[in-house]
Amino acid sequence: MSEMVLQTEGLTKYYGGKLALDHFTIRIPRGCICGFVGRNGSGKTTAIKLLLGFLNPTAGSSQVLGCNSQQLTPAIRQRIGYVSEGHRLIRWMTIAEIAKFQRAFFPGQWDIKLFWDMIEYFDLSKKQKIKYLSNGQRAQVSLALALAPNPELLIMDDPTLGLDAAIRRQFLEGMIGLIMWQGRTIFFSSHILGDVERVADRIVVLDKGVVRADCSLEQFRNAVKKVRCRFTGPILPKVNIDGLLHFRQSADELELVLVGTDDKEIADWAGSSGVVEYRAVNMNLEDQFIEYTAPAGRMKLFQWEEK
């Protein structure tokens, strides 16, 4: 079995009486890029802060690089790169000053050449002050700071939020560049499923504080399916098929969203349920994510009435 870089067990966090994270259990093996997805307010930032020991859990435990999140030593922290949401950097420093400041936390492993090459590539210069940079430029500095120590584990909280396509691509290139090094692991949250699909080989889906998936991206792609069926007679009042997540029906069509149901099970069900014709509806990762996290009851809000 491969070594787990991130491992949590029933990690739970309440803010007062509000449950933010509910028995969050994940296992992330070394060497992968894991996309951490979930809708706004699903608890991604809370989970990341707990992993890094910036918050204390109400219950449960988490380990990062084999060390308890609440007791991360400087030696372990040195092996972890972290990019916070919104790229918060010390505002009054210049780029040169912030580089010097950060470098002190990573003695002996800070790649000066890589840092300045990136700064130059981004058309920035050492004398510029952080507070006068645009959001995009601040994100670029933050990316260079994250990659310079060549971290064994890189954790990024929605690093491309609000960035233009070109800077987003630089982040993806940076991630691919880092993963080429032996044994590196990246865990990043994002709302851009196209980016996740491009670079990730693993996915964790968080929905209202609950982990709904922790698997390879390919497994998720294969598991979530949508099938559209036509019937001869009246539509069945009940749909009995394993893996049914929810269904929608119109006049003579029934749409099923299934998880982990194989093609033979679908064919068997169709054969025994009076289905005249059925076909799989193609879905991209974003469609799959939306269907997978959609509560059955809520979908109706968006259904258009037929006139």
């Binding site: 290139e173 980016d195 491009r198």
Partner: protein
């Protein structure tokens, strides 16, 4: 070797399938000839800005299909068609796929001659590319 691969994240086709299809097509058209070398996994991953394991997955599928062979230490190469196995089940699968096209064509009101002409036309695109390369 300039291998032209264009990937579209957000497509309903997974990225590794897009790579498999484009390389398969390049081999069929002769844009990639026997014993041509495919780009190294890491190089292609960096170029396309995708996870190296996605490229590796695509290469494994191409290898299982017999289109390429991997020589440890030296890379992945287009295999000789004479060395690719063609068993009866592969041919059956193709025949069944053709049925789908035939059914749609007949339903559109095309007759047998139209269908054959269309098929020759499409096929010509592939052999044309191959001939140009051989010149």
């Amino acid at each position: 070797m300039a291998l032209w691969i264009q990937i579209t994240p957000g497509s309903d086709e997974p990225i590794y399938v897009q790579i498999v299809e484009q390389i398969s097509e390049a081999i069929a058209k002769g844009e990639l000839a026997v014993s041509d070398k495919l780009p190294a996994v890491r190089k292609l991953a960096a170029e396309l800005v995708i996870n190296p394991s996605t490229v590796a997955r695509a290469y494994t599928i191409l290898e299982q299909a017999g289109l390429v062979t991997t020589k440890t230490g030296s890379g992945t190469f287009v295999s000789d068609p004479r060395m690719r196995s063609k068993d009866a089940s592969d041919v059956n699968v193709l025949a069944e796929r053709m049925d789908t096209v035939i059914v749609r064509s007949l339903n559109l009101g095309l007759d047998a001659d139209d269908i054959l002409a269309m098929f020759r036309n499409r096929l010509a695109k592939f052999s044309k590319a191959k001939k140009e390369r051989e010149k």
